[in-house]
Protein backbone atom coordinates (compact mmCIF):
# COMPACT_ATOMS: atom_id res chain seq x y z
CA UNK A 1 0.00 0.00 0.00
CA UNK A 2 1.34 3.42 -0.87
CA UNK A 3 -1.39 5.68 0.35
CA UNK A 4 -3.47 6.83 3.24
CA UNK A 5 -5.19 3.48 3.44
CA UNK A 6 -1.89 1.85 4.19
CA UNK A 7 -0.92 4.54 6.63
CA UNK A 8 -4.27 4.16 8.30
CA UNK A 9 -3.84 0.42 8.59
CA UNK A 10 -0.31 0.70 9.90
CA UNK A 11 -1.40 3.25 12.44
CA UNK A 12 -4.18 1.02 13.62
CA UNK A 13 -2.51 -2.37 13.40
CA UNK A 14 1.15 -2.35 12.41
CA UNK A 15 2.18 -0.37 15.43
CA UNK A 16 0.35 -2.82 17.60
CA UNK A 17 2.07 -5.77 15.96
CA UNK A 18 5.44 -4.25 16.80
CA UNK A 19 4.75 -2.77 20.17
CA UNK A 20 1.94 -4.90 21.46
CA UNK A 21 -1.19 -3.38 22.86
CA UNK A 22 0.59 -1.09 25.30
CA UNK A 23 -0.26 2.05 23.34
CA UNK A 24 -3.79 1.04 22.49
CA UNK A 25 -5.35 3.60 24.77
CA UNK A 26 -3.43 6.47 23.18
CA UNK A 27 -4.58 6.14 19.60
CA UNK A 28 -7.22 7.26 17.15
CA UNK A 29 -9.01 9.87 19.21
CA UNK A 30 -8.93 13.34 17.79
CA UNK A 31 -6.99 15.75 19.97
CA UNK A 32 -10.02 17.70 21.09
CA UNK A 33 -12.07 14.65 21.99
CA UNK A 34 -9.12 12.96 23.67
CA UNK A 35 -8.26 15.92 25.83
CA UNK A 36 -11.83 16.54 26.82
CA UNK A 37 -12.32 12.90 27.64
CA UNK A 38 -9.13 12.63 29.65
CA UNK A 39 -9.82 15.77 31.62
CA UNK A 40 -13.34 14.70 32.43
CA UNK A 41 -12.32 11.16 33.23
CA UNK A 42 -9.59 12.39 35.54
CA UNK A 43 -12.02 14.41 37.57
CA UNK A 44 -15.27 12.52 37.63
CA UNK A 45 -14.80 9.45 35.49
CA UNK A 46 -14.05 7.00 38.25
CA UNK A 47 -17.05 7.63 40.38
CA UNK A 48 -19.39 9.09 37.81
CA UNK A 49 -21.95 6.71 36.43
CA UNK A 50 -25.19 7.24 34.59
CA UNK A 51 -25.48 10.51 32.72
CA UNK A 52 -22.00 11.68 33.65
CA UNK A 53 -20.57 8.55 32.06
CA UNK A 54 -22.65 9.16 28.96
CA UNK A 55 -21.42 12.73 28.77
CA UNK A 56 -17.83 11.48 28.82
CA UNK A 57 -18.49 9.07 26.01
CA UNK A 58 -20.21 11.77 23.98
CA UNK A 59 -17.33 14.16 24.56
CA UNK A 60 -14.88 11.61 23.23
CA UNK A 61 -17.07 10.95 20.21
CA UNK A 62 -16.57 14.56 19.10
CA UNK A 63 -13.04 13.67 18.05
CA UNK A 64 -14.17 10.92 15.69
CA UNK A 65 -13.93 11.18 11.93
CA UNK A 66 -14.69 9.07 8.84
CA UNK A 67 -11.81 6.68 9.56
CA UNK A 68 -13.70 5.48 12.62
CA UNK A 69 -16.49 3.97 10.55
CA UNK A 70 -15.97 0.21 10.59
CA UNK A 71 -16.09 -1.76 7.32
CA UNK A 72 -19.46 -3.08 8.51
CA UNK A 73 -20.91 0.41 8.86
CA UNK A 74 -19.44 1.44 5.51
CA UNK A 75 -21.12 -1.60 3.96
CA UNK A 76 -24.56 -0.57 5.21
CA UNK A 77 -24.00 2.99 3.98
CA UNK A 78 -22.95 1.60 0.59
CA UNK A 79 -26.02 -0.61 0.26
CA UNK A 80 -28.37 2.32 0.67
CA UNK A 81 -26.33 4.69 -1.51
CA UNK A 82 -26.46 1.94 -4.15
CA UNK A 83 -30.24 1.68 -3.85
CA UNK A 84 -30.42 5.46 -4.36
CA UNK A 85 -28.19 5.26 -7.46
CA UNK A 86 -30.50 2.63 -8.94
CA UNK A 87 -33.25 5.22 -8.59
CA UNK A 88 -31.31 7.46 -10.99
CA UNK A 89 -30.54 4.76 -13.56
CA UNK A 90 -32.25 1.33 -13.53
CA UNK A 91 -30.24 -1.90 -13.53
CA UNK A 92 -29.37 -3.57 -16.83
CA UNK A 93 -30.88 -7.00 -16.35
CA UNK A 94 -28.45 -9.03 -18.43
CA UNK A 95 -26.66 -11.81 -16.58
CA UNK A 96 -23.85 -12.54 -19.09
CA UNK A 97 -22.96 -8.84 -19.29
CA UNK A 98 -23.01 -8.37 -15.52
CA UNK A 99 -21.00 -11.58 -15.07
CA UNK A 100 -18.29 -10.25 -17.37
CA UNK A 101 -18.21 -6.94 -15.46
CA UNK A 102 -17.90 -8.84 -12.19
CA UNK A 103 -15.17 -11.25 -13.20
CA UNK A 104 -13.11 -8.38 -14.57
CA UNK A 105 -13.94 -5.98 -11.73
CA UNK A 106 -13.47 -8.41 -8.87
CA UNK A 107 -10.15 -9.53 -10.33
CA UNK A 108 -8.96 -5.92 -10.48
CA UNK A 109 -10.17 -5.28 -6.93
CA UNK A 110 -7.98 -8.10 -5.65
CA UNK A 111 -4.95 -6.16 -6.86
CA UNK A 112 -6.03 -2.91 -5.17
CA UNK A 113 -4.71 -1.71 -1.85
CA UNK A 114 -8.09 -2.54 -0.28
CA UNK A 115 -8.93 -6.01 -1.59
CA UNK A 116 -11.06 -7.00 1.40
CA UNK A 117 -14.15 -4.97 2.21
CA UNK A 118 -16.90 -6.11 4.56
CA UNK A 119 -19.15 -7.55 1.86
CA UNK A 120 -16.70 -7.68 -1.06
CA UNK A 121 -16.77 -5.87 -4.41
CA UNK A 122 -19.80 -6.16 -6.67
CA UNK A 123 -20.46 -4.56 -10.06
CA UNK A 124 -23.72 -3.74 -11.82
CA UNK A 125 -24.36 -2.23 -15.25
CA UNK A 126 -27.03 0.48 -15.38
CA UNK A 127 -29.40 0.74 -18.32
CA UNK A 128 -28.74 4.30 -19.44
CA UNK A 129 -27.14 5.99 -22.44
CA UNK A 130 -25.77 8.70 -20.19
CA UNK A 131 -22.07 8.44 -19.44
CA UNK A 132 -21.64 7.71 -15.75
CA UNK A 133 -20.11 5.43 -13.14
CA UNK A 134 -20.36 5.40 -9.37
CA UNK A 135 -18.59 3.80 -6.44
CA UNK A 136 -20.80 3.44 -3.37
CA UNK A 137 -18.92 2.88 -0.10
CA UNK A 138 -17.84 -0.63 0.75
CA UNK A 139 -17.49 -1.94 -2.81
CA UNK A 140 -20.77 -1.43 -4.74
CA UNK A 141 -19.80 -0.19 -8.21
CA UNK A 142 -22.18 0.92 -10.97
CA UNK A 143 -21.40 1.63 -14.63
CA UNK A 144 -23.85 2.86 -17.27
CA UNK A 145 -24.08 1.42 -20.76
CA UNK A 146 -23.14 4.89 -22.03
CA UNK A 147 -19.88 4.66 -20.10
CA UNK A 148 -19.10 1.19 -21.43
CA UNK A 149 -19.58 2.51 -24.98
CA UNK A 150 -16.62 4.83 -24.29
CA UNK A 151 -14.46 1.71 -24.05
CA UNK A 152 -12.92 0.16 -27.16
CA UNK A 153 -11.20 -2.71 -25.38
CA UNK A 154 -11.22 -4.86 -22.26
CA UNK A 155 -8.23 -2.84 -21.07
CA UNK A 156 -10.19 0.41 -21.41
CA UNK A 157 -13.15 -1.10 -19.54
CA UNK A 158 -10.70 -2.30 -16.88
CA UNK A 159 -9.52 1.31 -16.57
CA UNK A 160 -13.05 2.53 -15.81
CA UNK A 161 -13.60 -0.17 -13.19
CA UNK A 162 -10.16 0.35 -11.65
CA UNK A 163 -10.85 4.11 -11.30
CA UNK A 164 -14.04 3.33 -9.36
CA UNK A 165 -12.19 0.76 -7.23
CA UNK A 166 -9.75 3.58 -6.47
CA UNK A 167 -12.58 5.64 -4.98
CA UNK A 168 -13.48 2.68 -2.72
CA UNK A 169 -9.84 2.11 -1.76
CA UNK A 170 -9.44 5.72 -0.65
CA UNK A 171 -12.85 5.69 1.08
CA UNK A 172 -13.82 8.84 -0.82
CA UNK A 173 -17.55 8.15 -0.49
CA UNK A 174 -17.81 8.39 3.26
CA UNK A 175 -15.63 11.50 3.25
CA UNK A 176 -18.62 13.25 1.67
CA UNK A 177 -20.49 12.97 4.96
CA UNK A 178 -20.43 16.28 6.82
CA UNK A 179 -17.98 16.29 9.72
CA UNK A 180 -20.58 17.52 12.19
CA UNK A 181 -22.84 14.64 11.18
CA UNK A 182 -20.06 12.11 11.78
CA UNK A 183 -19.47 13.59 15.26
CA UNK A 184 -23.21 13.39 15.98
CA UNK A 185 -23.27 9.81 14.78
CA UNK A 186 -20.49 8.63 17.08
CA UNK A 187 -21.95 10.54 20.01
CA UNK A 188 -25.27 8.79 19.39
CA UNK A 189 -23.58 5.40 19.01
CA UNK A 190 -21.95 5.96 22.40
CA UNK A 191 -25.26 6.70 24.03
CA UNK A 192 -26.91 3.79 22.26
CA UNK A 193 -24.16 1.42 23.42
CA UNK A 194 -24.81 2.40 26.99
CA UNK A 195 -28.43 1.32 26.44
CA UNK A 196 -29.90 4.48 27.94
CA UNK A 197 -32.21 5.78 25.24
CA UNK A 198 -33.31 2.66 23.38
CA UNK A 199 -35.69 3.41 20.52
CA UNK A 200 -35.00 7.13 20.71
CA UNK A 201 -31.29 6.55 20.13
CA UNK A 202 -32.04 4.25 17.22
CA UNK A 203 -34.41 6.79 15.71
CA UNK A 204 -31.70 9.45 15.87
CA UNK A 205 -29.23 7.06 14.23
CA UNK A 206 -31.70 6.36 11.41
CA UNK A 207 -32.03 10.13 10.86
CA UNK A 208 -28.24 10.54 10.77
CA UNK A 209 -27.95 7.57 8.43
CA UNK A 210 -30.52 9.09 6.08
CA UNK A 211 -28.74 12.46 6.12
CA UNK A 212 -25.38 10.76 5.50
CA UNK A 213 -26.82 8.95 2.46
CA UNK A 214 -28.01 12.31 1.10
CA UNK A 215 -24.53 13.83 1.62
CA UNK A 216 -22.87 11.02 -0.34
CA UNK A 217 -25.44 10.71 -3.10
CA UNK A 218 -25.37 14.47 -3.69
CA UNK A 219 -21.59 14.30 -4.12
CA UNK A 220 -21.72 11.30 -6.44
CA UNK A 221 -24.60 12.48 -8.62
CA UNK A 222 -24.50 16.27 -8.56
CA UNK A 223 -21.42 17.89 -7.07
CA UNK A 224 -18.61 15.46 -7.92
CA UNK A 225 -15.43 14.85 -5.97
CA UNK A 226 -12.54 17.28 -5.69
CA UNK A 227 -9.86 17.26 -8.36
CA UNK A 228 -7.42 15.68 -5.87
CA UNK A 229 -9.79 12.77 -5.18
CA UNK A 230 -10.16 12.17 -8.91
CA UNK A 231 -6.39 12.24 -9.31
CA UNK A 232 -6.06 9.70 -6.49
CA UNK A 233 -8.57 7.40 -8.20
CA UNK A 234 -6.70 7.74 -11.51
CA UNK A 235 -3.42 6.94 -9.75
CA UNK A 236 -5.01 3.86 -8.17
CA UNK A 237 -6.37 2.82 -11.58
CA UNK A 238 -2.92 3.03 -13.17
CA UNK A 239 -1.36 1.05 -10.29
CA UNK A 240 -4.03 -1.65 -10.37
CA UNK A 241 -3.82 -2.06 -14.14
CA UNK A 242 -0.05 -2.36 -14.07
CA UNK A 243 -0.19 -4.97 -11.30
CA UNK A 244 -2.79 -7.11 -13.03
CA UNK A 245 -1.20 -6.77 -16.44
CA UNK A 246 -3.54 -4.45 -18.37
CA UNK A 247 -2.30 -1.52 -20.45
CA UNK A 248 -2.70 1.57 -18.19
CA UNK A 249 -2.53 3.89 -21.21
CA UNK A 250 -6.00 2.59 -22.15
CA UNK A 251 -7.35 4.90 -19.46
CA UNK A 252 -6.35 7.75 -21.78
CA UNK A 253 -7.88 5.99 -24.80
CA UNK A 254 -11.14 5.74 -22.92
CA UNK A 255 -11.03 9.42 -21.96
CA UNK A 256 -10.39 10.47 -25.58
CA UNK A 257 -13.49 8.58 -26.65
CA UNK A 258 -15.46 9.93 -23.70
CA UNK A 259 -14.53 13.46 -24.71
CA UNK A 260 -16.02 12.72 -28.12
CA UNK A 261 -19.17 11.08 -26.70
CA UNK A 262 -19.97 13.50 -23.88
CA UNK A 263 -22.88 15.85 -24.46
CA UNK A 264 -22.23 19.13 -22.60
CA UNK A 265 -24.84 20.20 -20.08
CA UNK A 266 -26.02 16.71 -19.16
CA UNK A 267 -26.24 15.71 -15.54
CA UNK A 268 -23.67 12.95 -15.97
CA UNK A 269 -19.88 12.51 -15.94
CA UNK A 270 -19.41 15.91 -17.58
CA UNK A 271 -20.97 17.53 -14.52
CA UNK A 272 -19.12 15.61 -11.83
CA UNK A 273 -15.64 15.07 -13.29
CA UNK A 274 -12.78 17.22 -14.58
CA UNK A 275 -12.70 17.55 -18.35
CA UNK A 276 -11.20 14.44 -19.98
CA UNK A 277 -8.36 16.41 -21.59
CA UNK A 278 -7.27 17.67 -18.14
CA UNK A 279 -7.31 14.14 -16.74
CA UNK A 280 -5.39 12.84 -19.76
CA UNK A 281 -2.53 15.25 -19.09
CA UNK A 282 -2.25 14.07 -15.48
CA UNK A 283 -2.57 10.39 -16.38
CA UNK A 284 0.12 10.69 -19.04
CA UNK A 285 2.50 11.71 -16.27
CA UNK A 286 1.43 8.74 -14.12
CA UNK A 287 1.72 6.22 -16.93
CA UNK A 288 4.96 7.56 -18.37
CA UNK A 289 6.11 6.64 -21.83
CA UNK A 290 5.77 2.90 -22.12
CA UNK A 291 5.70 0.56 -25.05
CA UNK A 292 2.10 -0.48 -25.55
CA UNK A 293 1.54 -4.20 -25.95
CA UNK A 294 -0.86 -5.45 -28.59
CA UNK A 295 -3.98 -7.18 -27.33
CA UNK A 296 -4.34 -10.93 -27.82
CA UNK A 297 -7.19 -12.14 -29.99
CA UNK A 298 -8.91 -14.03 -27.16
CA UNK A 299 -9.21 -10.80 -25.16
CA UNK A 300 -10.41 -8.81 -28.16
CA UNK A 301 -13.04 -11.44 -28.99
CA UNK A 302 -14.54 -11.69 -25.54
CA UNK A 303 -14.77 -7.91 -25.24
CA UNK A 304 -16.49 -7.72 -28.63
CA UNK A 305 -19.03 -10.29 -27.45
CA UNK A 306 -19.62 -8.23 -24.32
CA UNK A 307 -19.98 -5.00 -26.31
CA UNK A 308 -22.68 -6.53 -28.49
CA UNK A 309 -24.82 -7.00 -25.36
CA UNK A 310 -24.50 -3.33 -24.36
Amino acid sequence: MKNSTRREFLEKTGALIVFGLMFAGCKTMGTLGQNMGNILEGTVGQSGGGNVGLALKSAKAIGRNFTDFTPEQEYYIGRTVGAQLLGKYPPFDNSPANNYANILGQTLAQASNLPETFGGYHFLIQDSDEINAFAAPGGFIFITKGMIRCCDSEDAFAAVLAHEIGHIQFRHGIQSIKKSRIADTFATIGVESAKQFGAKGLGRLVDLFEESIIDITKTLVTDGYSRSFENEADQAAVDIMKRVGYDPACLMDMLHKMEHNLIPGRNDFSQTHPEPKIRIETIQTLVGHISRPGQPESRINRFQQFSKMI
Binding site: R79, G87, T107, A111, V206, R243
Partner: protein, 141 residues
Amino acid sequence: MADIMSVQVMKGQLRKEPSFLSPVLRILSYTETVTVLSQKEDWVEIKADKDGVNGWLHASALTAGKIELDPGSENVKTAVSSDEYALAGKGFSKEVEKGYKSKNPHMNFSWIDKMETFMVSHENMKAFLQEGKVISQGGIS
Protein backbone atom coordinates in the same frame (compact mmCIF):
# COMPACT_ATOMS: atom_id res chain seq x y z
CA MET B 1 2.67 -11.18 24.31
CA ALA B 2 1.05 -12.55 21.19
CA ASP B 3 -0.91 -9.99 19.20
CA ILE B 4 -4.59 -10.67 18.80
CA MET B 5 -6.45 -9.34 15.78
CA SER B 6 -10.00 -9.87 14.53
CA VAL B 7 -11.54 -10.47 11.14
CA GLN B 8 -13.47 -7.32 10.19
CA VAL B 9 -15.08 -8.59 6.97
CA MET B 10 -17.82 -11.15 6.38
CA LYS B 11 -15.58 -13.62 4.56
CA GLY B 12 -11.88 -13.34 5.32
CA GLN B 13 -9.90 -15.51 2.92
CA LEU B 14 -7.13 -17.42 4.66
CA ARG B 15 -4.52 -18.37 2.09
CA LYS B 16 -1.62 -20.74 1.95
CA GLU B 17 0.74 -18.06 0.61
CA PRO B 18 0.70 -14.24 0.71
CA SER B 19 -0.82 -13.99 -2.76
CA PHE B 20 -4.35 -13.61 -4.07
CA LEU B 21 -4.25 -16.60 -6.35
CA SER B 22 -2.85 -18.81 -3.64
CA PRO B 23 -5.33 -21.52 -2.60
CA VAL B 24 -7.87 -20.56 0.06
CA LEU B 25 -7.42 -22.76 3.11
CA ARG B 26 -10.63 -21.66 4.74
CA ILE B 27 -13.00 -18.71 5.11
CA LEU B 28 -12.69 -16.84 8.40
CA SER B 29 -15.90 -15.40 9.82
CA TYR B 30 -16.57 -11.85 10.97
CA THR B 31 -15.26 -11.23 14.53
CA GLU B 32 -13.17 -14.43 14.53
CA THR B 33 -9.90 -13.82 16.40
CA VAL B 34 -6.46 -14.69 15.11
CA THR B 35 -2.93 -14.61 16.52
CA VAL B 36 -0.38 -12.70 14.46
CA LEU B 37 2.78 -14.63 13.58
CA SER B 38 4.48 -12.33 11.09
CA GLN B 39 3.86 -9.68 8.44
CA LYS B 40 5.05 -9.39 4.85
CA GLU B 41 4.13 -6.12 3.16
CA ASP B 42 0.31 -6.03 3.09
CA TRP B 43 -0.13 -9.63 4.22
CA VAL B 44 -0.34 -10.91 7.76
CA GLU B 45 0.57 -14.48 8.68
CA ILE B 46 -1.82 -15.67 11.35
CA LYS B 47 -2.99 -18.66 13.31
CA ALA B 48 -6.77 -18.95 13.58
CA ASP B 49 -7.62 -19.18 17.28
CA LYS B 50 -10.67 -21.33 16.58
CA ASP B 51 -8.89 -24.30 15.02
CA GLY B 52 -5.19 -23.44 14.93
CA VAL B 53 -5.00 -23.29 11.12
CA ASN B 54 -2.05 -21.19 9.90
CA GLY B 55 -2.13 -19.04 6.78
CA TRP B 56 -2.01 -15.55 5.29
CA LEU B 57 -4.71 -12.89 5.34
CA HIS B 58 -4.60 -9.56 3.57
CA ALA B 59 -4.22 -6.77 6.12
CA SER B 60 -7.47 -5.13 4.97
CA ALA B 61 -9.42 -8.08 6.42
CA LEU B 62 -8.07 -7.51 9.93
CA THR B 63 -8.42 -5.01 12.74
CA ALA B 64 -6.42 -4.77 15.95
CA GLY B 65 -7.84 -6.28 19.11
CA LYS B 66 -11.18 -7.98 19.55
CA ILE B 67 -14.56 -7.14 18.09
CA GLU B 68 -17.20 -7.41 20.76
CA LEU B 69 -20.58 -8.85 19.86
CA ASP B 70 -22.49 -9.00 23.12
CA PRO B 71 -24.30 -5.67 23.55
CA GLY B 72 -24.82 -6.25 27.26
CA SER B 73 -21.23 -6.83 28.23
CA GLU B 74 -19.01 -4.45 30.15
CA ASN B 75 -16.68 -4.33 27.18
CA VAL B 76 -19.37 -2.80 25.01
CA LYS B 77 -20.30 -0.23 27.63
CA THR B 78 -16.77 1.12 27.54
CA ALA B 79 -16.14 0.54 23.86
CA VAL B 80 -16.81 4.08 22.74
CA SER B 81 -13.83 5.21 24.74
CA SER B 82 -11.60 2.20 24.08
CA ASP B 83 -9.48 1.21 21.13
CA GLU B 84 -9.18 -2.38 22.21
CA TYR B 85 -12.72 -3.20 21.24
CA ALA B 86 -14.77 -2.37 18.20
CA LEU B 87 -18.50 -2.92 18.10
CA ALA B 88 -20.12 -5.40 15.76
CA GLY B 89 -23.65 -4.62 14.65
CA LYS B 90 -23.64 -1.15 16.20
CA GLY B 91 -23.85 2.27 14.63
CA PHE B 92 -24.97 2.12 11.02
CA SER B 93 -26.14 -1.45 11.08
CA LYS B 94 -28.75 -3.87 9.78
CA GLU B 95 -31.12 -2.50 12.39
CA VAL B 96 -30.57 1.07 11.15
CA GLU B 97 -31.08 -0.03 7.53
CA LYS B 98 -34.36 -1.61 8.64
CA GLY B 99 -35.39 1.68 10.23
CA TYR B 100 -34.42 3.55 7.05
CA LYS B 101 -36.50 1.15 4.94
CA SER B 102 -39.52 1.75 7.19
CA LYS B 103 -39.16 5.50 6.66
CA ASN B 104 -38.55 5.09 2.92
CA PRO B 105 -40.79 2.24 1.77
CA HIS B 106 -40.39 3.22 -1.90
CA MET B 107 -36.69 2.35 -1.84
CA ASN B 108 -35.92 -0.89 -3.61
CA PHE B 109 -33.02 -2.97 -2.31
CA SER B 110 -33.74 -6.08 -4.38
CA TRP B 111 -31.00 -5.37 -6.91
CA ILE B 112 -28.52 -4.53 -4.17
CA ASP B 113 -29.25 -7.93 -2.63
CA LYS B 114 -28.87 -9.50 -6.07
CA MET B 115 -25.57 -7.68 -6.66
CA GLU B 116 -24.18 -9.28 -3.54
CA THR B 117 -24.74 -12.70 -5.06
CA PHE B 118 -22.34 -11.82 -7.91
CA MET B 119 -19.33 -13.70 -6.59
CA VAL B 120 -16.34 -14.79 -8.62
CA SER B 121 -14.12 -17.62 -7.42
CA HIS B 122 -10.39 -17.26 -7.54
CA GLU B 123 -10.16 -20.22 -9.88
CA ASN B 124 -12.39 -18.33 -12.32
CA MET B 125 -10.30 -15.18 -11.94
CA LYS B 126 -7.16 -17.11 -12.71
CA ALA B 127 -8.74 -18.80 -15.73
CA PHE B 128 -10.06 -15.42 -16.96
CA LEU B 129 -6.59 -13.87 -16.83
CA GLN B 130 -5.04 -16.86 -18.54
CA GLU B 131 -7.63 -16.92 -21.32
CA GLY B 132 -7.11 -13.21 -21.99
CA LYS B 133 -3.32 -13.59 -21.74
CA VAL B 134 -3.21 -10.92 -19.06
CA ILE B 135 0.26 -11.20 -17.58
CA SER B 136 0.52 -10.09 -13.95
CA GLN B 137 3.24 -7.74 -12.77
CA GLY B 138 3.10 -8.51 -9.08
CA GLY B 139 -0.40 -7.86 -7.77
CA ILE B 140 -1.72 -11.27 -8.65
CA SER B 141 0.64 -14.19 -9.11
